[in-house]
């Protein structure tokens, strides 16, 4: 790798990092606005025009709040928890292909930080690591509600990871690659995987809800039973990190879903557009399309949150083990049969 490539990668990393932070920040705003619209209200509208500065104010508030570490908590792990949560949340964006190769001047730039050939598994690894932040924080708080939340998070994540993995296997049987870049390239134009794997996508999105701890699967932090769940004892920016990590997770999982099933940066008629707009603008349109898909998914996450009540814990486990896993296996068998005999 020459110096120029390294600099470009570095810039790309910084841009992606900044974008995921900004998206997460404005997701909090969007969540409140959308919740308000679903409930016939207007939502935050005081800070700036239409309340657009609200997330900044919230961030400033988080930083200025008093930092509390409970006396009996183990201080190092108490701090390590939220740090790990946000670290693992940010890691996922490294393998997502944000667009086709783009030409800037005479240089062709890859819009992906790392094209590792086990990209899908990498995402799984990062997601499975995400639970450590919650568990460590919950345990270190030395509070029974936190501990219960942490334990719930752990068992929920492990249970749903299995069906998530199984639902992906069916997709991988069709595509034959684990690299997200190739996966995205295969879905050229309108050949989106969701058309070939509708059941797989359904399973995947349910698991994605569970993995990101969003309603109807937000049992690790359900207020009615566990006060605040694993972040009961947290205050100031450490709490902010946990909340932020949730929104970054949502962003990343939306991006993964868009890439795996909804064609990533591909859209019908993209070749025609590419020819007519040139190698610089054309890929950028693809990036815009990908982001449109991501925002639609984020909207869907919020839409579901403000519609569906939370599961009971035994229902959650029943759904994971007795419904999703058999369905995922059936999906694998079905995919195998169809791709072999049709």
């Amino acid at each position: 790798m020459e110096l120029g490539d390294i600099i470009i990668k570095f810039i790309l990393v910084v841009i992606i990092f900044a974008i995921s932070l900004v998206v997460a920040m404005y997701s909090t705003y969007a969540e409140r606005k959308i919740a308000a619209f679903f409930q016939d209200r207007i939502g935050p509208n005081r800070a700036g025009p239409w309340g657009l500065l609200q997330p900044l104010c919230d961030g400033a508030k988080m930083f200025l709040k008093e930092e509390i570490i409970p006396t009996n908590a183990s201080a190092f792990l108490f701090i390590a928890g939220p740090s790990l949560a946000i670290l693992t949340a940010c890691l996922g964006s490294a393998v997502i292909p944000w667009g086709q190769n783009i030409q800037i001047g005479s240089r062709v730039v890859e819009l992906q930080v790392a094209d590792i050939n086990v990209g899908v598994l990498y995402i799984f690894g990062v997601v499975s690591l995400g639970v450590y932040g919650v568990m460590i924080g919950g345990w270190a708080s030395n509070n029974k509600y936190s501990l219960l939340g942490a334990i719930r998070a752990a068992s929920q994540n492990i249970s749903y990871e299995i069906s998530m993995g199984l639902s992906i296997i069916a997709l991988l049987m069709l595509t034959g690659t684990l690299s997200l870049r190739e996966l995205a390239a295969q879905q050229h134009d309108w050949h989106w995987n969701v058309l070939r794997q509708p059941l797989g996508f359904l399973l995947f999105i349910v698991c994605a809800f569970a993995e990101t701890n969003r309603t109807p699967f937000d049992l690790p932090e359900c207020e009615t039973e566990l006060v605040g769940g694993y972040h009961t004892e947290y205050s100031s920016m450490k709490l902010g990190f946990y909340l932020f990590a949730e929104y970054i997770n949502m962003f990343i999982s939306s991006a993964v879903m868009a890439t795996l099933y909804w064609g990533g940066y591909n859209y019908p008629g993209m070749d025609w557009v590419l020819v007519h707009t040139g190698p610089t603008i054309g890929p950028l349109i693809g990036v815009a399309v990908l982001f449109a898909k991501i925002f639609l998914f984020i909207f869907f996450f919020m839409w579901v949150r403000w519609t569906i009540p939370r599961f009971r814990y035994d229902q959650l486990m029943d759904l994971g083990w007795k419904v999703l896993i058999p369905l995922a296996i059936a999906n694998i068998v079905l995919t195998g049969l169809i791709s072999n005999y049709l």
Binding site: I34, F37, R41, T307
Partner: protein, 165 residues
């Protein structure tokens, strides 16, 4: 037991059929309901800028009235303070001096008239007790403040603005 109101409904709990057990149709119908609300006009009234109209018998902040010549009606008889269940009203009476006829309607008037808005329950009994039709609860909502002492409203805040000004 025989139902008197005829409102009782017997609810049968049938076992769910396949589609009901699959949840998905129910979830989709739920999503469509929330989506309908998404495009509905919000019912919010952004309070300080917009205000909802008060009902006719709304009881808000008190005001001490003047008569048609701009003289204060209150004679400091103390009936309002007596009737007040929350003991929020207190006053000091004074005699009208020469040359003050244009200010006070009768020989006696309230030199100090204070209502503690933190105690007041806005029941309107003072309004009913007043023989001179001097106090009415026809004002706005009592605004918030930072200090308890600022909720004790004196004549400066209670008396109606003079006429011709």
């Amino acid at each position: 037991m025989e139902s008197l109101s005829n409102k009782r409904k017997l609810i049968e709990s049938k076992p769910l059929n396949f589609w009901e057990r699959a949840y998905l149709p129910a979830i989709i119908s739920g999503l469509s309901i929330t989506m309908k609300h998404f495009f509905r006009k919000p019912v919010t009234i952004s309070y300080p800028e917009e205000k909802r109209e008060f009902s006719e018998n709304f009881r808000g902040m008190h005001s001490l009235k003047r008569d048609e010549n701009g003289k204060e009606r209150c004679t400091a008889c103390g009936l309002c303070a007596l009737s007040c269940p929350a003991e929020a009203i207190t006053m000091t009476a004074a005699e009208r001096q020469k040359g003050e006829e244009h200010l006070y309607r009768e020989e006696k008037y309230a030199a100090v008239y204070e209502i503690n808005m933190l105690r007041c329950i806005f029941c309107g009994l003072c309004e009913e007790a007043c023989p001179k039709e001097a106090i009415y609860l026809d004002g706005d909502i009592v605004p918030a403040d930072y200090l308890r002492k600022d909720f004790i409203y004196g004549k400066d805040k209670l008396v109606e603005a003079p006429l011709n000004q």
